[in-house]
Every structure is written in structure tokens, then in C-alpha cells.
């Protein structure tokens, strides 16, 4: 019995370490493979030229711009709604039917597959509201997709602000609104920024929802109503249709680098905030 228990402990420990190691190996093999093959492609001309010959040659400048704008629209629209919802949930109401409904909605939105968002964005923004395949349609669709993330992270951030801060605000003669804006939010900012940055990452990485709403046009977008092809979509089309493996690798490498920067940059930003604030 005693030996048995120790043997099973050993086996279990071995399996658990193996699983963890396996995951790390897979993760890094994907990242390293893409970077090794793709980084040599990342020359100045690749980053600044627009795609030529369906992406066989030329660069990805229009896709970089498209990604930037779709992400910007999404974040600019979703952030105030997300923070507002979080403020309502934490400061203006007690747990009850209303909060349950709002939480249920947010969690449901979080679980909806991106292809369904794509369908919705297509029928609602592109067709019904007449925005066509455009940066705006894509950005608004992404805004809905990232809304739950921003709500959740902002809510967590606001909840961890000590009650004492609110009391300080009120004891200085704050109205409720002033207490929220001037004492609660400044302390919650690192957490809120975390959510926004995670969301930026999602926008950059998304394919299914944007291909159906922003389109796949290769030219440089001229306005928010121009169609565009984000980098992730461009990579998908290049890779799937075998147009140019080199350019596919280059685009993927840039995507991975961006994602890495976003994840690492986020940690640095938060650390800076914390060092500054507390």
C-alpha cells in the first residue's frame, strides 16, 4: 500500500511534468518556426509597399494600415461601453436580477464563436446599415466581440480598489460621480489597460469575423468606409490559396511579433503604472 501510493505519486508527477513540457515545446516550436522562416522577409520594402499581383509580390502596408484602423475603431467604441458597464455593475447597483441579466449577456457574448459574429456583422453592419465591407463594419463587429473582455477586466480592476479610496473621496465632499471618476478609476487604470491590451491582441489576431465584415480588398484604405484586408486575413488567404509562402511567413512573423509585443508590452506598462501609482 505504502509503496503503491509512492509509485502512483511518481507516475502522476512524471505525467504532469511531461504534459507541461509538451505544451511549452509545442508553443515554442510554432513561434520559432514562424519567426525563423518569416523574419528574413521583414524588410523595409515589405512593410511599406502595398501588395502586388494578389500578394505574390510587394508588401503588406495596406494590411498593416487596415489592421490598425479596424483595431482602433473596435477599441475606441468598446472601451467606454465596457468601462461604463463595469462601473454600473460595481458602483451603482447591488447584486440582483439586473446584474444577473447583464452578466449573463456578457458571458454569452464571450462564448459566441467569431464566425457567428462575422455573420451578424455582415447582415447588420454591412447589409442592413449599408456600411458595406469596410473598416467601420469590421471595427464595430470587433467592438462587440471584445466588449465582454473589457467589461470583465474592468470590473475586476474596479472591485479591487480598496473601499477606503471611495470613503476618502466621499469624505472630501465628492458626489458619487466624482468619487468614481477621481478616486476609483485612477486606481483601477492598470487593470483596465490590461483588458484593453488583451482586446487589441484579439483584434489583431481575428480572421473569421473580419473577413466577413471588412472584406479582403488589397488596396490602401481611403476612409473608414473603405474595405480592407487585415494582416491575419491576408496571411490566411496567402497560406490557404498557396499564393506566396514567403509572404505568408513574413505576414505571420509580423503578427507573432505584434502579439509578443502586446503581451510583453502589457506587462511592462502595468508595472510602470503600478510603480507610478502605488
Amino acid at each position: 500500500m505504502k509503496i503503491n501510493a509512492r509509485a502512483s505519486q511518481k507516475i502522476a508527477k512524471f505525467l504532469i511534468w511531461t504534459a507541461a513540457l509538451l505544451v511549452i515545446v509545442v508553443l515554442f516550436s510554432i513561434i520559432i518556426h514562424i519567426l525563423v522562416k518569416g523574419i528574413p522577409m521583414l524588410r523595409w520594402q515589405f512593410l511599406t509597399d502595398i501588395p502586388r499581383d494578389m500578394g505574390r509580390s510587394g508588401g503588406i502596408a495596406s494590411s498593416i494600415v487596415g489592421t490598425l484602423f479596424v483595431t482602433a475603431v473596435a477599441v475606441i467604441v468598446a472601451t467606454p461601453f465596457g468601462i461604463g458597464t463595469a462601473i454600473y455593475l460595481t458602483e451603482y447597483t447591488r447584486e440582483g436580477r439586473v446584474t444577473r441579466i447583464i452578466r449573463f449577456s456578457a458571458e454569452s457574448l464571450a462564448g459566441i464563436p467569431s464566425i457567428v459574429y462575422g455573420l451578424f456583422g455582415f447582415i447588420f453592419f454591412v447589409i442592413y446599415l449599408g456600411m458595406g465591407w469596410s473598416i467601420l463594419s469590421g471595427g464595430l463587429t470587433m467592438a462587440i466581440m471584445i466588449l465582454p473582455t473589457i467589461i470583465r477586466t474592468s470590473e475586476e480592476a474596479i472591485r479591487t480598489v480598496p473601499q477606503l479610496y471611495r470613503e476618502v473621496g466621499f469624505s472630501l465632499g465628492a458626489t458619487k460621480w466624482q468619487a468614481i471618476i477621481r478616486t476609483v478609476l485612477p486606481s483601477a487604470i492598470p487593470g483596465i489597460v490590461n483588458g484593453v491590451i488583451l482586446s487589441i491582441g484579439r483584434c489583431v489576431a481575428e480572421t473569421a469575423a473580419v473577413i466577413l465584415t471588412a472584406g479582403s480588398a488589397l488596396r490602401m484604405p481611403a476612409s473608414l468606409l473603405s474595405p480592407t484586408r487585415t494582416m491575419a486575413v491576408h496571411f490566411y488567404i496567402l497560406a490557404r490559396e498557396g499564393i506566396s509562402m514567403d509572404n505568408a511567413y513574413g505576414t505571420a512573423a509580423l503578427l507573432i511579433i505584434l502579439i509578443l509585443l502586446i503581451n510583453v508590452g502589457f506587462n511592462m506598462l502595468v508595472n510602470r503604472f503600478i510603480a507610478k501609482g502605488r
Partner: protein
């Protein structure tokens, strides 16, 4: 000497849900003096302080009876303006609570929320408040650095400055030195002694000795009852009630 009262507490009772934590308390708070309300933990002192500017309203499920008069006006009247009340009766908490922003912004917070916008006015207010709390010389060259970089004692003086910037009439201090070292404590006590010339101060001291050092009058509370009150020297030298005597001589937890 008959001293004018700034605040008067009449038959105040306070309940958390079913539990009564202040029991029919009567107390006069003299103007331009330091009143120390002391007693063992859970005597209702913090609650009493928080009732004086109605910060206690923030807690769900509380209820009070009786009156608290501020310059003769009951602060529980329905027409009372809460933000104005809290500006007139400022509060310093037991934990130094600097907000995550610069020293300047911490002190300017109250005036800003009161609607003051002009940079010059704000700068003037901040300097005046920091001078009064005896922090100015230590921070005047780094007003824009985060308040979190100050020491605990400095942070607590910052909190006092933040309240002073409101130009209140009454200042409540809830065990303001409980988290501080003796040197910081001495500095704060020194500034309180000067501040009382302009302000009415009510302090919950963290030790009986502190009450003895700075208070003009003291009130002893036990389990929500006011046991005894009077001039500090008289109460400390000749307590009328045995329980006060027991507490002062350390025969109480």
C-alpha cells in the same frame, strides 16, 4: 471658562442591522479645541466619528436616532447638502490613504471636486494646506512625484493637508497615528496643536497617552455608552467613574 459648542450630539443611537453600537449618546464638542474620544476597541468610537460627517451612510443596513447639530443645524435634516457637510466636517483615516496620483493632485483633489479650476488658486490652496500640515518643506520640490513614494508619516500628513485644503470647520481624525512611528506621531501632534486655533478637532487617539498629550477635553466610551467626559486633566487625575479609572490604569484589556 465657558466654551462655545461647534457641534452638539443629542441622544444619538446607532444600529448596524440589529446591533446597537451607540447608545443614546449626549456630547458637546467645543469650538477651536481638541476633543479626544477614547476607549477600548469596539466601543463605537469609529462609528461615532463616521456619523459626524455621515460617512456612515455608505454602509448598507444602518440606522440612527437622535440629533447631531452643527452650528445649531441638525445634520440629519432632509434638506442637508451631503457634499457640503463633508466639506465642512473633514476626515482623516487610520491608514494613511494617499491616492495613486501625485502629491499635488492628492491635495488639490478636494478643491477640484468643489469646482476650483484655476491653476494659481489651486497652487495657492495646496501650498497653504501643506504648510499647515508641516509637510511643505519636505515636498515642495517634488509636488509632481507620486504620493506613494512618501513615508507613512508623510503620507498621513498629506492626508491631513488634503482635508485642510477643503477649508473645513471640523476635522475628524480616526486613530491617525496608529500606523506611524513615534517621530511622525510627534510631528502630527505638533501640527494638530497649532491647527486647533482655527479648527475644531475631534480625534480618536490610538493610545490614552496621546489623548493626554494633546486633548483639551476627553470623552471615554465603552460598549457604545459615553461613560465620562470633561477636561483632560480632571478626567485623567480624578476619574469619577470606576470604569474610566480601570481603563486609565490599564486594568482593562
Amino acid at each position: 471658562m465657558i466654551q462655545k459648542s461647534k457641534m452638539e450630539i443629542k441622544e444619538l443611537s446607532f444600529y448596524y442591522q440589529q446591533k446597537q453600537v451607540i447608545k443614546g449618546l449626549n456630547l458637546e464638542i467645543p469650538e477651536n479645541r481638541i476633543l479626544a474620544v477614547f476607549g477600548p476597541a469596539n466601543s463605537g468610537i469609529t462609528t461615532l466619528l463616521r456619523t459626524l460627517n455621515r460617512l456612515s451612510d455608505l454602509i448598507v443596513g444602518v440606522r440612527q436616532e437622535g440629533e447631531i447639530l452643527l452650528d445649531g443645524k441638525n445634520i440629519f435634516d432632509p434638506d442637508i447638502n451631503m457634499t457640503e457637510l463633508r466639506r465642512r466636517v473633514g476626515m482623516v483615516f487610520d491608514v494613511p490613504t494617499s491616492l495613486p496620483m501625485s502629491i499635488f493632485d492628492n491635495v488639490a483633489l478636494g478643491p477640484r471636486m468643489g469646482g476650483m479650476k484655476a491653476k494659481r488658486d489651486l497652487a495657492e490652496k495646496v501650498e497653504k494646506a501643506l504648510r499647515m500640515s508641516a509637510l511643505w518643506d519636505e515636498v515642495k520640490d517634488r509636488l509632481n512625484t507620486p504620493a506613494a513614494r512618501l513615508s507613512g508619516g508623510q503620507q498621513q500628513r498629506l492626508c491631513i493637508a488634503r482635508v485642510l485644503a477643503l477649508e473645513p470647520e471640523v476635522i475628524l481624525l480616526d486613530r491617525p497615528c496608529s500606523a506611524l512611528d513615534p517621530i511622525s506621531t510627534a510631528k502630527i501632534e505638533e501640527s494638530l496643536m497649532q491647527l486647533k486655533e482655527q479648527y475644531t478637532i475631534i480625534i480618536a487617539p490610538h493610545t490614552v497617552q496621546q489623548a493626554g498629550r494633546i486633548a483639551d477635553r476627553v470623552a471615554f466610551m465603552l460598549m457604545g455608552d459615553l461613560i465620562e467626559q470633561g477636561y483632560t486633566k480632571e478626567v485623567f487625575a480624578f476619574p469619577k467613574d470606576n470604569r474610566t479609572n480601570d481603563y486609565l490604569t490599564g486594568r482593562f484589556g
